[in-house]
Subunit: 349 residues, 2 copies
């Protein structure tokens, strides 16, 4: 393995088989206009030399790379990595390779370098898998750099002129709170995610709306803003206990923060679910093993990634056939489901 010959090219195959490069090309592309005997001879040489056509050269002449550019952030968190997992699956199934860029933070404004790289690498399409945080979507309307490369955005406020795929955060949160209400809880506090996140705002809005729809209190002292981490959840629940003493349930905007609620309850000897109902969001793998097991919202991040790629591939194909019209931007919203576990089940059903 230490001594390597350069990989064989179509030319070497051609001369070894005593044919032109064009004939080898025809064989590789399984075209019918090659005599059976010639084809076999070429195939033998290909096999013997281990010839592998260069996708780089093909990309150049075909003006397409079968490569999708993916932008993500926070891969060390469960959500983004599950999304990427869905993306890799769908890309594989559709015959596309992936080029992945991870932003150092969620809230990055200057995306020019990344777009330029994608453009110069000639990706066929882009999946923008960074959730909407703060102003990190402003570039979309200011940057013409995309040069018409098909793009799908994940997890953001739908916009008519963009293709967006997202999970229904509002609906999920609504399910969570309605469930608590159905269980007879009447003083339901909320630990939100950071409110510069679109998802956090959606979940929070659903909490407020659900309570108001049932004439239950939803005032400013009934919720606290966290930052998704268990640490922030621990602080938040302290604050909530203090400023909302009647509270008998908590809807936390993710499972990590819900975990802190469970821990705090245990320290204060508050019985869950009898004296405090708890619901989380995301269904991280561990949440079924919390004490007690956590009721949560299953958000299927991987499915979001899959749909994004499926849709992107359709757009790419339509784009190649100049059928942009038939593929107008579209918003795809996936519905989450609720997983009812012990932490919220006060009523035996």
């Amino acid at each position: 393995m230490s001594f390597q010959t350069r990989r064989p090219t179509i030319r070497q195959v051609a001369s070894a088989a005593g044919v032109s490069t064009q004939t080898v090309s025809r064989v590789m592309n399984k075209r019918p206009d090659v005599a059976a005997e010639t084809r076999q001879r070429v195939l033998d040489v290909i096999d013997q030399l281990g010839y592998q056509p260069s996708e780089v050269a093909r990309s150049l002449i075909h003006q397409r790379t079968y490569m999708i550019g993916v932008v993500t952030a926070g891969l060390k968190y469960t959500g983004p990595s599950r999304t990427i997992s869905g993306i890799t699956q769908a890309a594989e199934e559709n015959g596309y390779a992936l080029m992945i860029k991870e932003l150092p933070r969620f809230d990055v404004h200057n995306v020019e370098p990344i777009l330029k790289e994608f453009i110069s690498r000639h990706v066929d399409g882009i999946v923008w898998a960074v959730p909407e945080v703060g102003e990190n979507r402003d570039w979309v309307d200011q940057t013409p750099s995309l040069r018409g490369i098909p793009t799908v955005f994940l997890t953001m406020q739908p916009q008519a002129h963009l293709t967006v795929v997202s999970m229904d955060n509002y609906q999920g949160a609504r399910l969570a709170v309605e469930h608590l209400i159905a269980q007879g809880y009447e003083h339901i506090g909320h630990i939100s995610g950071p409110l510069d996140w679109w998802e956090a705002r959606q979940r929070m809005a659903a909490w407020k709306d659900a309570l108001q729809a049932h004439d239950l209190p939803a005032q400013d002292c009934h919720w606290v803003e966290g930052n998704w981490s268990s640490t922030s959840g621990a602080q938040a629940i302290q604050t909530l206990f203090n400023q909302y003493p009647q509270m008998d349930a908590v809807f936390a905007a993710n499972d990590q923060m819900a975990l802190s609620v469970l821990q705090a309850a245990q320290l204060r000897k508050i019985a869950v679910p009898q004296d405090l109902g708890v619901v989380g969001f995301d269904n991280i793998a561990e949440s079924a093993f919390f004490s007690p097991p956590l009721t949560t919202i299953q958000s299927n991040q991987d499915t979001v990634g899959q749909w994004a790629v499926e849709e992107l591939v359709k757009i790419i194909l339509a784009h190649r056939q100049e059928q942009q019209d038939t593929f107008a931007p579209k918003t795809i919203i996936l519905s989450p489901t609720i997983l009812i576990r012990q932490s919220s089940q006060r009523i035996q059903s």
Copy 2:
């Protein structure tokens, strides 16, 4: 944005600026042999047209892509995604793009298609980030397909002729068990990972060795095999409680399984850490918020990814300069550290 002109090529820039393509190329590559005036004229046109050289074409002529192929598996788990995160960072810093493939399972034998894709895409190097499981490394010695592409393997039994980067699983597990012993626990059970995993075997071996070094019991009925999941951990701890009644501590091979131990202890009203010490492995983000907070081993998976890329880049450079000799295969082992939290602290220090 709906109407797009094809991206400008060097030829268009050249004719717009009234020079040859070669001159444009010289400007792009900041070569000195261009008159200041000409250079400026070309730069203006480049700016105006938004010209962006095609990396595809460059790759073809330079015979290098500045692209690293990464193979991973189980991205939805914390470990692999943290590794990828480290890889993306280091690749970015070194000016390399990443092409990522995710295997559908950990134990995949037939890697030919993936290698072929990498070869045809002409990646400059490969990071094999799939942990060693079962026979999933056998192909290495049987497949000549790599054609001398620089490759770094992560998380596997070191082999003299391969470059391997790994965390020291044995050392980490040893730290865990020695810590329990220092805390005065004397009947330390073990929930291992699946033993077709190299990492699981390493951690288990360290458990056994540590106990034996201190003349403590380490028999077959003192450990149970899990499969990393909390579910398997729950079953395992049941079995252990039954077959090892004197057990006063558990070393679980990862945090997810340790979580189940905490849960089981709570259900049985066994006090942690007084009556049962618990140590996990991996330091997942949630483990600091378990009840009680979990002592665990910090394994720095992202650092493993970073080192892999750093090393790979060096190999690639040496390879280009025909200096293979100076860059013999090397094994890099990173040391984990122990994070002592409440679940194992019987002695107040």
